[in-house]
């Protein structure tokens, strides 16, 4: 029940703040084939994507509600020829505009055009510290060289730059080289983020999830490197996988509290993975952002704590982690209302421990993310490598 902007339920009264963080997934299409991709394995058809006008309207509506950070993501957002127009519009509205890209498709000229349009920041993903590792994971030849050149150009053109390395069993031994590369490229922030197991990454988990010892070793290297920096150079953020924690992550800062994702087809989601859940999510083609955020059943479904099962309901940490991740609960237990199995208090915690065990000896084959339009790219890579 909604009353005066407050959501009322039996036990709690929650004020819904604005969706401060808007993630615009402009397309699921991508020139890379990373097996850690968190996009849905059932990628939609690009002909269902929102058009320019629809996206501009989404930005106008969200900004009026108080959204302030806007991420252009995907897939690969550079595949949208109207990206510059979207950047210009949203920057004029007062958004802080973030481009989250693989770097493939970027040129010096486009970096300059985006700057003129008002883009605030560029984040480039890398898959490894050298061409060999990077291009095998990315599934595309010469990807590293392209990323390296574009990262140099991004800094030369005066942008703040974040580098994102998704860390997995495949590249975790390169952590020190990755940190050196980041210094060489003069990055401002560097995310050393172990893969989160959603979408393609969930199917490939046995091949990606590092062992606890590998993580301990990597963290030691990161800390030693940081000590030598003496406050200079990039700021490194090391994100360990929640599988080795005893309490779940406060996923998305709480369901429907801060984050709003708009998928390429206009589906509005409380996080970029939520579409897997057995809930009917609204679409910006049918409803206003305000209606979606304030009133839609799916967005209210896990707000507050009245939905929580035990052991969350009586747990004094429920305000800290909000019961963890709904998608993780659903993927692992088949029930999205359960406590995140990462929690050691969860009756399903053994599922996490079993997953860690299984990852020691992967049996299923590693799947490369497939794009409907990019099969030819994959063929070319095989030849080049």
């Amino acid at each position: 029940m909604i009353k005066n902007g407050f959501i009322m339920n039996n036990e709690t009264q929650i004020k819904v703040g604005p969706p401060l963080w808007l993630l615009a997934e402009l397309t699921y299409d991508c020139p890379l084939h990373c097996p850690y991709c968190s996009n849905p394995t059932e990628l939609g058809d690009t002909k269902d994507e929102l058009n320019t006008e629809q996206w501009l309207d989404v930005f106008t509506q969200a900004r009026a509600m108080g959204a302030v950070q806007l991420g252009f993501s995907g897939g690969e957002p550079l595949l949208r020829k109207d990206l510059e127009e979207m950047v210009k519009h949203s920057r004029e509205l007062g958004f802080y505009t973030n481009l989250i890209t693989s770097g493939i498709g970027l040129t010096e000229k486009r970096i300059a055009k985006l700057k003129v349009a008002g883009l605030d920041h560029i984040q480039i993903s890398f898959q490894g510290a050298d061409p060999e590792m990077n291009d095998i994971i990315a599934g595309r030849g010469n990807a590293f060289e392209q990323k390296f050149k574009m990262a140099q150009s991004v800094k030369a053109q005066g942008y703040p730059m974040v580098l994102n390395f998704v860390i997995s069993k495949q590249n975790i031994s390169q952590v020190e080289d990755i940190m050196r590369l980041s210094c060489q490229l003069n990055a401002d922030y560097v995310e050393l983020a172990t893969a989160q197991y959603y979408g393609w990454a969930y199917d490939n988990r046995d091949h990606l999830l590092p062992s606890q010892q590998q993580l301990i070793d990597a963290e030691k290297i990161v800390n030693e490197f940081r000590d030598k920096q003496q406050g200079k150079g990039p700021q490194f953020i090391f994100v360990t996988p929640d599988y080795f924690e005893v309490r779940p992550k406060a996923c998305m800062n709480g369901w429907g509290s801060t984050f709003l994702t708009i998928a390429p087809d206009g589906s509005a989601l409380p996080c970029h993975s939520a579409k897997m859940l057995p809930l009917k999510f609204p679409n910006v083609k049918d409803k206003s952002i305000s209606d979606i955020w304030q009133q839609d059943f799916s967005f209210n479904r896990f707000r507050g704590d009245s939905w929580m099962p035990q052991p969350c309901q009586s747990c004094d940490e429920k305000e800290k982690d909000f019961g963890g991740c709904r998608c993780q609960a659903f993927m692992m237990t088949g029930d999205m209302d359960k406590t995140d199995p990462v929690c050691s208090k969860s009756p399903d915690h053994h599922l996490i421990q079993e997953a860690i065990e299984r990852a020691k000896n992967p049996k299923n084959p590693l799947l490369e993310r497939v794009n409907k339009r990019s099969i030819k790219d994959a063929d070319i890579v095989q030849i080049k490598l």
Binding site: P18, V68, Q69, G94, Y96, N98, H121, P160
Partner: protein, 90 residues
């Protein structure tokens, strides 16, 4: 650190703007936001690479005559802001 002879400038990593929805000044940076309280917002507005610290104090003392001498408050904030890399002296 504090430098009286060189005007402080906003670090290019940050953008300062008034946010109506938050009813305060905010610093925006890649994928993040810092909400500034009233006095922090007043000071940061004057960090423009032109005003020296003495100018900032003068302007604020004139703007808020009832607040008493703001020298110590401005110094304290600018030291904290430098540590957070919001500004630099060059």
């Amino acid at each position: 650190m504090i430098n009286q002879s060189v005007p402080p400038s906003l670090n290019a990593m940050f953008r300062l703007q008034w946010e109506q929805a938050q009813d305060c000044y905010v610093l925006l940076f890649p994928e993040g936001m810092v909400k500034l309280n009233g006095s922090a917002g007043e000071i940061m507005q004057l960090v423009d690479g032109q005003n020296k610290i003495a100018d900032i104090i003068n302007i604020l003392n004139k703007k808020f005559p009832d607040a008493g001498d703001l020298t110590d408050d401005v110094h304290e904030f600018l030291i904290a802001a430098y540590d957070k890399k919001w500004l630099y002296y060059e």
